[in-house]
């Protein structure tokens, strides 16, 4: 089930809210149980068979947590086994195909498995690993109550597409959160805006990118740029829209999930971009891979290795495709370049130039991310820069003129205009205006849903 579906909006969410708030707040554990049951149903709507996957992941982390919490070598072994089990579990579903394919290419015969990829498996596996590691580090205590751990792992707002929540970020609120009218209203407003981002913008930009890239190849340079820009906006609004909905839903039930996006497309360097894009994933890699490897404090050679290792893994985390690996390497190289080659020179440029260079790198990066194969990515990027491209056939102009309202709204919504507006006027007026705007976005999103724009979120496939 996805947040932008009719079933979620008009059946799941109202029913859950009604049942949840009918139970008095003092019965906290009953409310938690309701959230767990509904979260499992939310996941099972994609196929009841997926519950088994979720249960195995839960058991690995519940038992692994208890083991990792033991003092001495037992705890170390517990951590190692639990992490290995998590990674094995993830590899089994996500990477068996790419490894078998690579083995076959090397002449070793392996059957290539073709199975169902459980939605969000990368998200909840990483959450599980962070839970195990944090226990071992002494940051959190192992949770012995399976219901509470299940709520942390299965809480439906972050279950399939993040943000990647650490246990300590939810631990306290599992037991003593405080639901309120203000938080509920703020959460619903954020949910409505997130829904609008997904349904009104991301889906439309997906349509534009689809039209640009699906036509007869090769593309003209103009069309390649239109397609690349559309995809750049699609992936932002798709994922940040989901995150807004997740955070908003968290607020509705009294939780404060971590922010995941902070206007990444206003960044003036690649480093800044990754401080603003998918922040929970960046933090995860920083705390559980990069720093344990030595970070930037172990000499240049080690730093280069660490950066490339982290970005190779970041690419692989997104999917079992060589184009994701290439995408990860692209960012690894860009970050190294910023640090050792052009970083100081870049800092001397006006902000607009730095922003343009950064966006160019990001847009090219998305071409790797989007492509089914590295060759497809190279071909599309070549077309963007006039290599092997076709003459203009009007498609670029058509896609700009046809979707001008979305281009306008999309480009504006990438900028922190909301932050500026949130400082204007009196608080009551702001609240009233935001509520009105949220209602309008909700109505427009409903209309767009009726036009059959139902589809899944890009990041659920990770």
């Amino acid at each position: 089930m996805v947040f932008s579906s009719f079933l979620f909006l008009f059946a799941f969410l109202p029913t859950l809210a009604a049942v949840y708030f009918l139970i008095p707040a003092r019965f906290r554990q009953a409310r938690n149980a309701i959230l767990v049951v509904f979260s499992v149903f939310f996941y099972a709507a994609g196929g009841v068979r997926l519950i088994a996957v979720l249960c195995v992941s839960f058991l690995i982390n519940y038992i692994g947590g208890l083991m990792a919490g033991r003092p001495g070598r037992g705890g170390k072994w517990g951590r190692a086994i639990a992490i290995a089990a998590n990674l094995l579990f993830l590899s089994l579903y996500k990477y068996a195909g790419i490894f078998a394919g690579a083995a076959n290419a090397l002449g070793v015969s392996f059957p290539v498995p073709a199975g169902l990829l459980p939605a969000g498996i990368s998200f909840y596996t990483f959450q599980g690993i962070s839970y195990i590691v944090d226990i071992r580090r002494g940051n959190v205590s192992p949770q012995r109550n399976p219901m509470k751990l299940a709520l942390y792992m299965f809480f439906f707002p972050h279950l399939t597409s993040g943000p990647i929540v650490r246990y300590r970020e939810m631990e306290e609120e599992i037991d003593c959160r405080r639901e309120s009218v203000e938080l509920f209203a703020a959460g619903m407003r954020r949910f409505c805006f997130g829904l609008g981002k997904k349904v009104l913008l991301a889906n439309t930009f997906g349509e534009i990118a689809g039209k640009a890239f699906a036509g007869p190849a090769p593309m003209s340079a103009g069309l390649a740029w239109v397609g690349a820009l559309a995809y750049t906006l699609e992936i932002f609004f798709d994922f940040s829209g989901y995150s807004d909905m997740a955070l908003g839903l968290g607020n509705v039930f009294g939780f404060h999930l971590p922010e995941n996006f902070d206007y990444p497309y206003i960044s003036c360097s690649v480093k800044e971009f990754w401080r603003r894009w998918h922040m929970s994933l960046s933090r995860w890699f920083r705390d559980y891979i990069y720093i344990p490897l030595g970070g930037n404090r172990a000499g240049n050679g080690r730093y280069i290795f660490n950066i490339m290792a982290v970005w190779l893994l970041t690419g692989l985390w997104h999917g079992a495709k060589w184009s994701f690996v290439l995408w990860g390497c692209w960012y690894g190289l860009l970050l190294l370049g910023e640090r050792f080659l052009w970083g100081r020179w870049l800092e001397k440029l006006p902000a607009l130039c730095r922003w343009a260079v950064t966006m160019l790198a990001v847009i090219v990066g998305w071409m790797f991310f989007r492509a089914a194969s590295p060759m497809e990515a190279v071909s599309a990027i070549g077309n963007m820069f006039g290599v092997g491209c076709a003459p203009e056939d009007g498609r670029a102009v058509y896609l700009m003129l046809e979707y001008w309202p979305e281009w306008t709204a999309g480009l504006l919504a990438c900028a922190p205009i909301k932050n500026l507006l949130s400082r204007a006027g009196k608080p009551n007026t702001r609240s009233f205006a935001a509520s009105l705007a949220a209602l309008a976005v909700l109505a427009l999103s409903y209309m767009a849903l009726m036009e059959g724009s139902f589809d899944s979120f890009l990041y659920a496939q990770f």
Binding site: V181, L401, P427, M450
Partner: protein, 400 residues
Amino acid sequence: MKRKRNMKITWDLAFLWLVCAFFVLVALWTALRPKVSWSYFENRALTPRPALSREAVADGRYFQELEKYLCDHAAGRGSALKLSTLADMKLLRRPVVNDVVVTDDVLLAYNEYEKPDEKTMEDCASREAEMLGRLARLTENWGGTFLYVAVPSHYAYFADRYPDWLNNREEYTARSKEIFFSALDDQGVPWLDVGEVWSREGDPAEYMSATDHHWTLPGCLSAYREILGMLESETGLKLAALTGDNTRAATLPNPFLGSRGRKLLGQWSSDERLTYLEPLESVPFTRQDNGKEVSPSVFSFPGNDYETVQYGFFMGGDISETVISTNRPELPSLLIYGDSFTNLLETLMYYSFDETRSIDLRGYTDKTLLSYVEEHRPQVVVCVRDYEQLLSLFGNGNIG
């Protein structure tokens, strides 16, 4: 301070009540409203309620289907679609709305950008022409005549109305005509390009509907005169023709909803009306549709003056097989086949023949057209296809 906070909570509560009311009302209205199975404007069947089964729940199909069902039957869907179409046309001024290119006076088809494959085009042209050659030679076996009539597609007739950045298929149309007519010549198949006829007459805009993808009565009449002239010269027969002297043109007062107007959910205002031609002295006839006797009329008149009418007014729309018998054995027999462009032409052609048979191979599957022609041996066989279908080997392009 406290007052301000109370005010904010009041706003928040009001907002929450509105959101909750919206969710609950939509859910209830969707659940309780009577369900329909067909969407008239979208011209498609709506998703039926999925069957609940263990397998479907296990693999997630059930909820996927349920989602489609709920979206199709959601409260206010029809109004939402109309409002959205209207906003796209009038407020946002999108150049293409619901796959229709909206101009000031005519609604055009949106053509996907394409890169035609010359080899495939040539291959299709020669295969289609070869089949038509077989049909022409078969008809000649009993002294009959075959004529292929190519009618401009709506997008081809109004090609100059497209903005430069949209695909009007001009190059594709020109090339497909060139290779197809050349292939017909190779097979010795007589053909008529209605586009050339209209061109000689100055390509009047009223020959094609502004809101539908078919021709109008004036356009069809122009083609009809040329077709009869060609048949007379091919066969030596003197065919009684409908002319300005022996006919009466009438216009239906009803609003006309063309296929493109329908795609815009009736939100594009148009004063276009349907005009039809009737002989002053009517010819009595019987009519059979798919083997069943039906009312002897070539028009499907609406029940009143205000309900919308469509192109299906002519001959009652696309019917697999229609037989009109005028009981005038001294006149030749006719078989006319093709896509819906034939419908309006049939309302004129039957006047000149004893028996008129009409076949639409998109629906008729009893036998191949060659077998059908062999069985009924019509003296005149006319194929009517628009430019878009010239190279199509499917539907009415598959006669063998």
